[in-house]
């Protein structure tokens, strides 16, 4: 299968520290690929290398079959980039942000205007077309940035933390638009530290930690491989959860003690919860839920994603 992004032993080193420490990645046409990991895992550095604005220190990187070191402009012509922090042009109106940006790609003015109107429709900003950028809400700004990333009809869209800092409603709107893009066959590459986002959007993802890839697969497969079907979350009223850990021994496949709760990894959550009651341990709260990528991450690194 055709690999749009191909990396082998990719390394990014800054003075004194290694942000990306030899990763192998292959992104196929039409898929939504995710980099999941906490802040500082090396996701953004990887994205900047793929965006051809940061030369790799070492390793192989091919994007659309081209070498970013030599063919930066040629590759960027076919990429759409939605950065983590919106860098919209505050001196321009909403529509002008799209039309002037299109000009950077050499798109004729008439086409640019037409495409801007279509994209504003797509991200539901048509009514705000002549507004300045400043008064837009965070969600609107993010949608405009996404529209801007689509202005050159890119083959790959790079999204760095597309919904970080947005309220729940705005997040869902962004997800819904991205899902629409995916259906249209656009290749999406995104970073996130939200597991729900990764589960919603990604066909395939890699989990990064400390500049390395610690696991790879579809969200479902990763959960199956690194976690159990269900999880029981137990909170005890006492100061330390630690004391209860041994009393729960043998209840599930695995057990994680966090500062505020204990996670019990089991195949059947309800059965395990009943067993906890039977041992009369009396937790302050019991929650049975399905396993998520958060659990995968916890298992792989011993830490939670959002600290």
């Amino acid at each position: 299968m055709e690999s749009l992004i191909h990396a082998r032993g990719l390394v990014k080193r800054f003075e004194g520290f290694t942000a990306v420490d030899g990763i192998d990645v292959d992104v196929r046409r039409g898929e939504a690929f995710g980099f999941l990991g906490p802040n500082g895992a090396g996701k953004s550095s990887t994205m900047r290398m793929i965006g051809c604005v940061s030369p790799p220190t070492d390793g192989v990187l091919r994007i659309l079959g081209l070498d970013p070191r030599r063919d930066g402009p040629k590759i960027r012509a076919k990429l759409g980039v939605c950065p983590q922090l919106d860098n919209l042009d505050i001196e321009l109106s909403v529509r002008e942000n799209l039309t002037t940006y299109a000009r950077f790609f050499g798109i004729p003015r008439r086409v640019a205007r037409q495409r801007a109107d279509e994209l504003l429709e797509f991200v539901q900003l048509t009514e705000r077309a002549d507004s300045k950028v400043e008064p837009l809400s965070g969600g609107m700004k993010r949608r405009l940035t996404i529209a801007r990333a689509l202005v050159n009809e890119p083959e790959i869209v790079l999204l760095d933390e597309p919904t970080t800092g947005l309220d729940p409603q705005a997040r869902h709107l962004v997800w819904e638009r991205l899902f629409r893009l995916k259906q249209q066959g656009v290749t999406l590459v995104l970073t996130t530290h939200y597991m729900d986002e990764a589960e919603q959007l990604c066909d395939r993802l890699v989990v990064m930690d400390g500049g390395r890839i610690v696991a790879e697969g579809s969200p479902r497969a990763l959960i199956e491989q690194y976690s159990t079907r269900e999880v029981v979350e137990l909170r005890f009223a006492a100061e330390s959860q630690e004391a209860y850990a041994e009393k729960l021994a043998g209840l599930g496949e695995r057990l994680e003690v966090l500062p505020d709760r204990i996670l019990l990894y089991v195949a059947d959550g309800d059965k395990a919860a009943a067993e906890v009651q039977r041992r009369s341990l009396a937790p302050a709260s019991v929650l049975v839920r399905r396993s998520s990528l958060e659990d995968v991450f916890l298992h792989l690194t011993g830490r939670t994603l959002v600290d």
């Binding site: 800054f14 940061s54 042009d89 001196e91 321009l92 039309t99 002037t100 950077f104």
Partner: protein, 273 residues
């Protein structure tokens, strides 16, 4: 002009294909954000050198009377000082766009990060911004030359010759300003730039011939870019024109090419880490 000069000075193999078009798209962005108020500010920019001309050239000129040129010819003070005002106005215009505004766009608006995600390269951003600074500078220079001719401070033919010289001066200082912008760290450093600019204005043979200063100071003055600019424009305005002026042109071209190369390289280092 710039694009054909660049190849020899750009070390790596870069393609020049589409360079002009991409630089122009950066200029276009600046034109797109012209708002009514900014227009007034921009157009009013030409008032400044004219005010200086009337105040220093005419007002102080009345106290000074005539000045002897190196050849021994006597000229009125306004005639002497007007070409220097033109050169320093070209400098000021180019520097204000490429230091203050450029720095703001790079550091605070993070405008260039967005542009760099497109096929546009750092050197092309530099070229596009420079071209924009020049559009403004050229308009001011033309207006000022018109006033000089109207006040009989130079002839129309000489004014035509001075025009391309002011464009060159603008380009050279614009490139210099951009290099400076990639070096400074914060807004506070702009005090240094203002002080430096002011020192250039005062001591570059602008208001008095450099022969008024002691020999050591004079040599220092002679190597400053503003002095070379003033020398070029003044010779074109009052004559005679000789080899020294060819040297001026070469000097300014060198400043332009080196400035642009360094600015492009440093921008790449800062923005493409």
């Amino acid at each position: 002009m710039v694009t054909f000069l660049m190849p020899r000075f750009v070390p790596r193999l870069v393609s020049f294909e589409g360079m002009g078009r991409r630089s122009a798209s950066v200029t276009e962005r600046n034109i797109a954000c012209l708002r009514s108020m900014y227009w007034v500010v921009m157009v009013s920019g030409f008032v400044e050198p004219v005010l200086y001309l009337f105040s220093i050239g005419v007002g102080v000129g009345a106290l000074i009377g005539d000045l002897p040129l190196p050849g021994g010819r006597l000229v009125g003070y306004a005639e002497f000082v007007a070409p220097a005002m033109l050169a320093s106005a070209a400098m000021t215009g180019a520097l204000s766009e490429t230091t203050f505004n450029f720095f703001g766009k790079m550091k605070f608006m993070r405008l260039y990060e967005g542009i760099l995600a497109t096929p546009v390269r750092p050197i092309e951003i530099a070229l596009g911004e420079l071209a924009w600074a020049m559009v403004r500078g050229v308009l001011y220079s033309a207006a000022f030359l018109g006033i000089m001719v109207a006040m009989d401070l130079t002839s129309a033919a000489r004014a035509l010759a001075m025009f391309p010289a002011t464009v060159l001066i603008g380009f050279a200082f614009g490139a210099l300003g951009m290099t400076v912008s990639t070096v400074i760290r914060s807004w506070q450093d702009f005090d240094l730039i203002v002080a430096g600019q002011f020192a250039l204005l005062l001591f570059s043979g602008t208001f008095v011939p450099p022969t008024a200063y002691p020999a050591v100071v004079r040599w220092l003055i002679e190597v400053t870019p503003l002095y070379r600019s003033v020398d070029l424009v003044r010779a074109l305005s009052l004559g005679p024109v000789g080899w020294t002026q060819a040297l001026d042109v070469l000097y300014l071209l060198a400043v332009l090419v080196i400035g642009l190369t360094v600015a492009g390289r440093r921008m790449e280092k800062m923005l493409c880490k």
